[in-house]
């Protein structure tokens, strides 16, 4: 009789496994394609993002070939580029502009927004706050498929006969509004706008889900002050996304009306071939205001998740609590707020009122304060830590390095007077590629190396990881550091060639160096791709918690099934950074270990907390533990 009602723990376990199997092996389509499981969706985002990163990287090498070797005969690229090569075997000048445009669009939106935020917010939010899944699995699935559709449209635009959009990733009108202006402003631009509209829908669906999950689906005991910094970063990122992306949608909508329905929001007094266009009364500056109101926060949409990931990785691999947890959260919040009031620093040379310019200079320079707080905290976390140099750790330190070197040049560019000289030169290109591009890319790589064992249950190869890191790290500096000099010398960005100007020919060798470094950096990424794909199938099997980390995702089984935890969701008792706590048995105490189990390492106020609970009868739980 008793046997029928009592389950031994083993039986329960078997039962759970069975239940999970039924979910996992439903059907190929529901498991891997139209999955509502946040982990599968995260992997879909990651792999799509990686494909895009490769495409974006190849495009950049194509235009670097033109810039570094303007005289070279590229006819060996005929199979790839076809009609986009001129008779002399050089890249068509208009296609060069399309390459630059598509490189920017792909990297900013498809790789570093969807690929980064989409992957890690989806993967880590439910696992780290202790939830079975996202608030709405269906919306989450929609979010990925809108992104996929948007990707298909953007990819299609690369192959049409008039070429993809070519007005720069910022698609300023009138260049982008008038098909007569440049061949890329025809069908290519239309596809760009359609793709971005779908992308914005995807991003909003994702962001709404992330915020809702963080606020409403935290496990017991997971107060805001016990959230890992990754979650804080994703949370702020999603808030910025919800506030900023609708504005881009508005800007794009007005542009669509200007292009297709003949309105004049952005167009006025334009003559083409001596003929006046009918459009009257518009203002191209209006577009810049709307665009940069998204565009600047977008920088932090890209950067904040990377900062969150690296905070977690640096604390774990320094075996030390993160230095200044509250300062880290506060500075991210401050950055998020400031990101909305600095957009006009992209527009200093549009004839803006100098007084307004000085206000935006001030607001822009204030961003240096929270940024410096973050760098200080990273360095002080590393300071005297028991550093473990996993590839993820190296990439995180690389992020700190780029965030610093790239951030410092921001002080120059944010100054409305200095910006007059530097605006639209390679100095700007160097600045944002270091601080936003490379820093975020390194954060993403760090995240992939660190969470790969939880994603695929296997380990990536460390040695290949080190080779990948050093080649990429040195390569990135070789690509972008010389660009500062080229920019100060006055080279404008997006120019097809400078060889016709005697003044600029002195920098040809530097440009060649940059191009060679770019090719090496891109080649190094294939090491990563090999490592990634090989490890998915043949990698060493990973333990459940390979990095001895504290956060909740490492309390799941090696391959968490649908619902993440086979039994009950763990309860959280402490913050996520109890590394090397004095007196503790191990150098880490996971978040789900109560203070009463670690009397040897508790601080007085932590013991106090247990006592407080003792005094209050209602809050005591007596756990009956059998031996």
């Amino acid at each position: 009789m008793a046997a029928t009602v009592t389950h031994s723990p083993a039986e329960v376990h078997v039962h759970d496994e069975h239940g999970h199997d039924e979910h996992a092996h439903g059907n190929f389509w529901t498991t891997y394609i139209f999955s509502e499981d946040h982990k599968v969706i995260a992997k879909q985002f990651l792999i799509t993002g990686m494909i895009w990163a490769l495409i974006g990287g190849i495009l950049s090498v194509l235009f670097r070939l033109q810039l570094g070797f303007p005289e070279a005969n590229l006819s060996w690229l005929k199979p790839l580029l076809g009609g986009w090569l001129t008779a002399e075997g050089k890249i068509d000048p208009e296609f060069y502009l399309a390459l630059v445009t598509m490189h920017g669009t792909i990297m900013v939106f498809f790789v570093l927004t969807a690929g980064l935020s989409g992957t890690f917010s989806n993967f880590l939010i439910p696992l780290q706050v202790g939830a079975r899944d996202m608030a709405s699995g269906f919306m989450n699935m929609l979010s990925y498929w809108f992104f996929f559709l948007s990707s298909v449209v953007m990819l299609t635009s690369l192959f049409i006969s008039t070429g993809p959009a070519a007005g720069g990733w910022t698609i300023y009108p009138p260049l982008s509004a008038l098909p007569q202006a440049i061949s890329g402003s025809g069908l290519g631009m239309t596809l760009w706008l359609v793709s971005m509209a779908l992308f914005i829908v995807s991003s909003l669906l994702g962001s709404i889900n992330y915020i809702t999950t963080v606020i409403n689906l935290r496990t017991k005991g997971m107060t805001f002050t016990k959230l890992p910094l990754t979650i804080w970063a994703f949370f702020f990122t999603a808030i910025i996304g919800i506030l900023a992306f609708p504005v881009l949608f508005g800007a794009a909508l007005l542009l669509i009306f200007d292009r297709s329905f003949g309105t004049s929001f952005y167009l006025s007094d334009i003559y083409i071939g001596g003929e006046a266009l009918p459009n009257q009364g518009g203002s191209p500056i209006l577009f810049q205001h709307l665009f940069w109101f998204l565009g600047h926060p977008e920088v932090y949409i890209v950067l904040l998740p990377a900062l969150g990931l690296s905070s977690e990785i640096i604390a774990t691999n320094s075996r030390k609590p993160i230095f200044g947890y509250k300062a880290m959260v506060g500075s991210m919040m401050f950055i998020a707020i400031l990101s909305f009031v600095v957009w006009a620093h992209h527009m200093f040379v549009t004839g803006m009122n100098p007084f307004l310019g000085s206000i935006f200079t001030l607001l822009t320079l204030i961003i240096a304060v929270p940024s410096a707080v973050k760098i200080f905290n990273y360095v002080t976390t590393l300071w005297k830590g028991n550093l473990i140099f996993t590839p993820a750790m190296l990439f995180s330190i690389g992020l700190v390095s780029f965030f610093l070197t790239g951030g410092i040049t921001g002080l120059f560019l944010g100054n409305s007077a200095v910006d007059i000289q530097l605006h639209d030169t390679y100095f700007v290109v160097a600045h944002f590629h270091l601080v936003m591009g490379s820093a975020s890319f390194f954060g993403m790589m760090a995240g992939v190396y660190h969470w790969f064992p939880k994603m695929f249950g296997r380990m990536m190869d460390n040695r290949l990881g080190y080779i990948h890191f050093w080649l990429t790290f040195i390569g990135v500096y070789l690509v972008f550091f010389p660009m500062h000099y080229i920019g100060i010398a006055g080279f404008p960005r997006r120019y097809y060639t400078w060889t016709t100007f005697e003044t600029f020919s002195g920098f040809a060798d530097l440009n060649m160096l940059v191009s060679i470094a770019a090719i090496i950096t891109l080649s190094a990424q294939f090491i990563f791709i090999f490592n990634f794909v090989y490890a998915i199938f043949r990698g060493k099997k990973a333990p459940a918690n390979p990095w001895n980390s504290n956060t909740l995702e490492w309390t799941t089984p090696r391959l968490p099934g649908h619902g993440n935890w086979p039994g009950e969701i763990p309860t959280v008792y402490r913050w996520p950074y109890d590394y090397s706590k004095p007196g503790a048995k191990d150098d880490f105490i996971p978040q789900n270990v109560p203070y009463s189990e670690t009397p040897e390492s508790n601080f007085p106020f932590e013991n106090e907390q247990i006592k407080l609970e003792l005094g209050n009868n209602g809050a005591i739980v007596v756990e009956n533990k059998k031996h």
């Binding site: 608030a135 709405s136 919306m139 909003l204 962001s207 709404i208 915020i211 809702t212 606020i215 409403n216 689906l217 935290r218 017991k220 005991g221 997971m222 107060t223 919800i242 506030l243 900023a244 992306f245 609708p246 504005v247 949608f249 508005g250 800007a251 909508l253 007005l254 009306f257 329905f261 003949g262 309105t263 004049s264 929001f265 006025s268 009257q280 009364g281 518009g282 203002s283 209006l286 205001h289 709307l290 109101f293 309860t571 959280v572 008792y573 109560p594 009463s596 189990e597 907390q609 247990i610 609970e613 003792l614 809050a619 005591i620 739980v621 007596v622 756990e623 533990k625 059998k626 031996h627």
Partner: protein
Amino acid sequence: MTSEFRIVEEPKQPLAMNAKKFAMWLFLVSVGMLFAAFSSAYIVRQAEGNWVDFSLPSLFYYTTAIIVLSGISMQWAYFAAKKDEFGKVKTLVGITAVLGIAFLVGQVIGWRQLTESSIYLVGNPSGSFVYILTGLHGAHLIGGIVFLIIVLISAFQMKIHSKNLLQIELCVTYWHFLGGLWIYLFVFLILNR
């Protein structure tokens, strides 16, 4: 079998509200940002001059009254659902949907009034903005009417009662948001001629 009693502090479930309601509010925030962007674009563009003045269609006053009425009937339907008055819920949600459609028809006739005073979508941005703002609001309202029809269907299936209010609560929130948004847009357009 020895058993050991241990005292563990009990962590509380953190503050949370219904996830769907919360998501709805976030959606409203993003729609709000879209219209905030257009409002500021309107003001910035107007400040640059070259701005054609015209009067708004008189019909907009009537459509405003219609949407206010629809807000009242929607709220009433919600109260009825709370009291399990099934018949009333069906009628009132139906009335709200009809009023919503009437509002849309009124807006389109309002556009015709605009064209009669030779203000077209294509032309000076002052006119184009009116079309874009009303059109975009209308597009969101179509979504609201679809939602109302879904609510109406579940009302006929007796799925809306005092124990199952989530769907109608979401619909009420969205509908009031659309009403409030229209009143904001109308006042904004009147004040910024």
